[in-house]
Amino acid sequence: MRVFFRTALLWLTSLLMLGLAGCATPPPANDPDALAYYNETNDPLEPFNRKMYAVNNALDAAILKPVAQGYVAVVPEALRTGIHNMLGNLHTPVQLSNDMLEGKPRRAGDTYMRFLINTTVGCLGFFDVASKWGYPDHDADFGMTLANWGVGSGPYLYLPVLGPNDPRDFAGFGVDIAADPFTWVGQGAAVTALGYSRWAVTAVDARSRLLGSIDNIKKTALDPYATFRSLYRQHRQSQIEEMENDNRATVPVWFPQPASAH
């Protein structure tokens, strides 16, 4: 996994350098409408990003989408849900550390209880018992943590394989891989193979859950690239807002509650 991590980083930085060569020129200042649009979309790398979007679409059509379709056709719904739950359970260390870095003790508590309950009662994470017991899942990653610390998203970025992104989330992605104990634990061919399989299954699982939506967007949007850009940003924004607004009190129920916490 370490070698994979290093090569991936090298590869992506060189791609980014390439991207800088493909900058769009901002419209002149005497065209305020066009300038406002340029600033609003915040996509100075659009020419490069669109090329990467085309590359990703080709990769998707050739590999990921057919594999995801096959996965849905062959594997029954209940098994797919179980696999999805197990992948989420394996992600606990990263989620928990980000909950804590975001200063959200109740979210960290939820994540911790989810891990305890689902790993035991939920058969190594296959069944999401914790959600039914009052510990619902939530999103936490280092991109969100950076947003919580006041770091801006930066311009839009479309990366090969990874898809819609921005510098903040891309940095967060790297930190999350580095923070994942499974990146560093163990040695030997078997462990490496397991690590790769986990990423492959994660990709297929994520793609299979979006089969209908992505087809629909491509069918109904006049400019799917711009639509995905807008959807990505809105979705990230809503995840961040939900995290920031989650200010549940940490006072135990048998203590007098502070006025704000009802």
């Binding site: 066009a34 719904e77 629909n216 109904t220």
Partner: protein, 203 residues
Amino acid sequence: MPSRRFLLTVSAAWVALGARGNAQSGDAAAVAFVQSTGGRLVGVVNGPGSAQQKRQALTQIIDQVVDVDGVAKFCLGRFWRQASAQQQQRYMDLFHQVLVTNITSKLGEYQGVRFTMGRTTPSGDDVAVDTTVLRPNNPPTDVKWIISNSAGTPKIVDVVAEGTSLRLTQRSDYASYLNHNNDNIDALLSAMHNQVQQDLASG
């Protein structure tokens, strides 16, 4: 002058109370509206009838409950002002058809749909009503309905699914299309026309 101050305080309190009362009854009306509208939509989707009949029934409901003109204007953004009266008229017609085809093209996916009501929050001048949409073989989806009361009767002005607003997304789609077609509104209109024709041919 204490009496004047007293009067001011009392009237301020009355205004505040009145506003609160209004907001609360507005919330209740919005919840009832979303519940009944959702029920009607689910009834058509899961009910009997051919695709054509369902399309007709949905068009009728959409006309009644969605502020189509308001949403259409919002989605065109600054280009609405730049469009000629004729272009505006054509755009309105096409937008209406696109909205209906976009919704009816998903009919199959929504077979067996149910929904549960959630909490209500203010959203600017409007009211946001949360629902959870449950479809067989799909994870539950959080859908927020933005209800405006500015026309006197409640109307849907936006649908926010998992944090993504339908009208904002549509607006950025049109803006980008226009940006890549020299801001030519006729190009957008013909693209919308093609879209409707394709949908009608395939569906």
